[in-house]
Symmetry: C2
Subunit: 395 residues, 2 copies
């Protein structure tokens, strides 16, 4: 059996997992029929153990169900589930300036202020996708205005909630340019072509040059405002999963721009990051590492997280499909063989989110404050569709 | 050998560890002779791996060296080391309103704003102890003014840096009343007796009634403003080490007030908390647990931390010395037999701070952003002095 045939088998497995395991789990357990929006704090069996709602996860689940309708098959139930979350966000989500709060109680009253610009990113992403499924003006308008608000806030995303004393060590963080790589493509139908083109050029520069550390060939999480290395806890820390996820966003932009060199560079960085982040002792990808080998501040540094592993699978699937690079196929298989037996819950469905270094379940939850209906379904969809293509793009 | 003789042996061991291992380690490795203050980011061997300075740890190390001089033996070197950190804090520590910044770069320029009132608590504690060793007006004045500032800020300690949306779920946190139990006694020489008496009554009420959960008999970390239970992540989480540490602060207040019932209640809570927090599978005290058994938000929940274990040793030593309760002696020995072989570094001196659930070293550092020259030396001193007394207080 050649590699292409093997990969086609994975495609079918990932499709089945998405449609028969993951989507039914969230459809059954996450809908709050009384107060609107989604429960995301679900225990191993899917039972709600906490009713707080988090803007990131509301927006992301809107996106997931709208995306399923838009890209898998038209399905009114999926659209209605997406609208269920969108309406909660539209009704409760924003302060007077249009910034999205971070979290809410069950009834939708705000609990945590809009200190976190990623709430806005995922709200815009969800509403933008839903507008494709059901072109209600408000979905498109709020997605558009929120995106503009993100661009306006992006040089000072935490605003008055920042605890940093200005001027001593002004760092910028990798997460926002990384998300904008993906968000600009997700909202392409709502934005001017010129804005997308300019933004794409800018975020590609940020991700692939500003945050790229030429010495190590790795992507840094935080750099000085001028792009230089900061020899501090924040400057030294690497988050391999984050960088690997960003590399498939970059590959998507590379495809759109038909820029083969950009794709090749992204794959080189992704392979290097995988090697750097792989745990040779217990397998799996380490959560945080210091580039100089010093102790990190994050006590969870050695844990194995669901999103890191599924995003790495997407990255290697795309890398293989675009180039036929056998290293990428090998890494895909190695990641698959770690990820499925460790994260997938064969008994109660869906996947665990948090494993300890040895790959044992650290928290039995299926969803919480950070894990919702997003990385697993998006990743399964991406792998399915990527490996379904029976010829390689650039080979 | 009776229990008293056994305990006297521990006293000598803890004294030796303090004087021959811990104090020389910090004296040798932590002094920044060029820019003032202390390095606290020390690797396993004691080498500086990061030069940032943290107000908590600066204030705490000032306290430790001043305390050694005040309570162990007069020693000019120790006073000079305390003054070295105090002068750094006095020169660089405060904003225009007298609030202490959270952290600084090596040169003393502020990095993180004064969002954290515990910076002020430990600065006041350190300067207050140093004023006893060397009655320079400025030490006493700044300690006094900072304490008044803490009392002024205590109903809204994060001030403008709070991310909580007011009114939806107003919680108060256990840490500040707990620290005030200890700080009010540490600053007794600077404060009016009436203030101390009133404050002691108030914080004892807060700790032993407001945060005490009658149903479980355990201490909660966060409760509603009216003292009621909040069925939320914050409301459900318990930090056993925190509650156990607080119980020896309460015992100290009980001794001062000659309140035997208060001491007995503190011991009952401490024993119950130890039982609740003990890891029956791998031994040691768990860092965080949900009171309803739900998953917690803290990914580090199952780790074993240095301060938790040394504070529990202090608590059980005091509990035994005050009452002769054999359960407390048994727990002391059980804790000792876990703590010393796992945390103490026989090769390079000092103690590790962070172990994983199995008791393996998670981070090889001897000091960092949160671990400095404080819990281990304070705890060793407290156990030494507590168990040195050859008769029991209330027996």
């Amino acid at each position: 059996m050649n590699t292409n045939t093997t990969m086609l088998g994975y495609s079918q497995l990932y499709k089945k997992e998405l449609i028969e395991n993951i989507v039914p789990f969230w459809t059954e357990h996450s809908i709050d029929k009384e107060f609107g929006g989604y429960y995301t704090c679900l225990d191993r069996e899917g039972k709600v153990f906490d009713t707080d709602k988090f803007a990131w996860l509301q927006g992301r689940q809107v996106w997931t169900y709208a995306m399923l309708n838009n890209r898998v098959e038209q399905n009114e139930d999926w659209v209605n589930i997406a609208k269920h979350g969108a309406n909660f966000l539209l009704k409760n989500g924003r302060d007077n300036e249009g910034n999205f709060y971070f979290s809410f109680n069950r009834a939708g009253q705000p609990l945590v202020q809009p200190y976190n610009i990623f709430s806005d990113c995922f709200a815009a992403m969800g509403l933008g996708a839903l507008y494709k499924a059901d072109p209600v003006d408000e979905y498109g308008e709020v997605a558009y205005n929120t995106f503009q608000n993100i661009l306006k806030r992006r040089n000072n995303p935490k605003g008055k909630y920042s605890k940093i004393y200005p001027g001593t060590r002004d760092l910028k963080n990798f997460a926002l340019p990384m998300i904008l790589c993906n968000l600009s493509l997700e909202l392409e139908h709502l934005l001017d072509k010129q804005l997308i083109d300019d933004l794409a050029a800018e975020v590609i520069h940020e991700v692939m040059e500003t945050f790229y550390d030429a010495g190590s060939g790795l992507i840094l999480e935080n750099v000085h405002a001028d792009g230089s290395f900061s020899d501090s806890f924040e400057g030294r820390v690497l988050n391999p999963g984050h960088a690997i996820e960003a590399m498939w966003f970059i590959m998507d932009l590379g495809v759109r721009l038909n820029n083969k060199a950009l794709i090749e560079k992204a794959i080189t960085i992704a392979l290097r990051t995988l090697k750097f982040g792989w745990d040779d002792e217990h397998a799996g990808i380490i959560y945080f590492k210091d580039i100089k080998g010093h102790p990190v501040q994050q006590l969870e540094w050695d844990q194995k997280l669901w999103w890191v592993h599924i995003e790495a699978l997407v990255c290697m699937a795309k890398a293989y499909q675009l180039t036929g690079n056998q290293d990428c196929a090998d890494w895909f298989i190695k990641l698959h063989e770690y990820t499925w037996p460790h994260f997938r819950d064969n008994q109660y469905g869906e996947w665990f989110g948090y494993l300890n270094r040895r790959g044992e379940v650290l928290l039995p939850l299926k969803g919480g404050k950070w894990k919702g209906c997003f990385h697993i379904p998006r990743g399964l969809y991406q792998v399915w569709k990527t490996l379904e293509v029976d010829k390689l793009a650039f080979v």
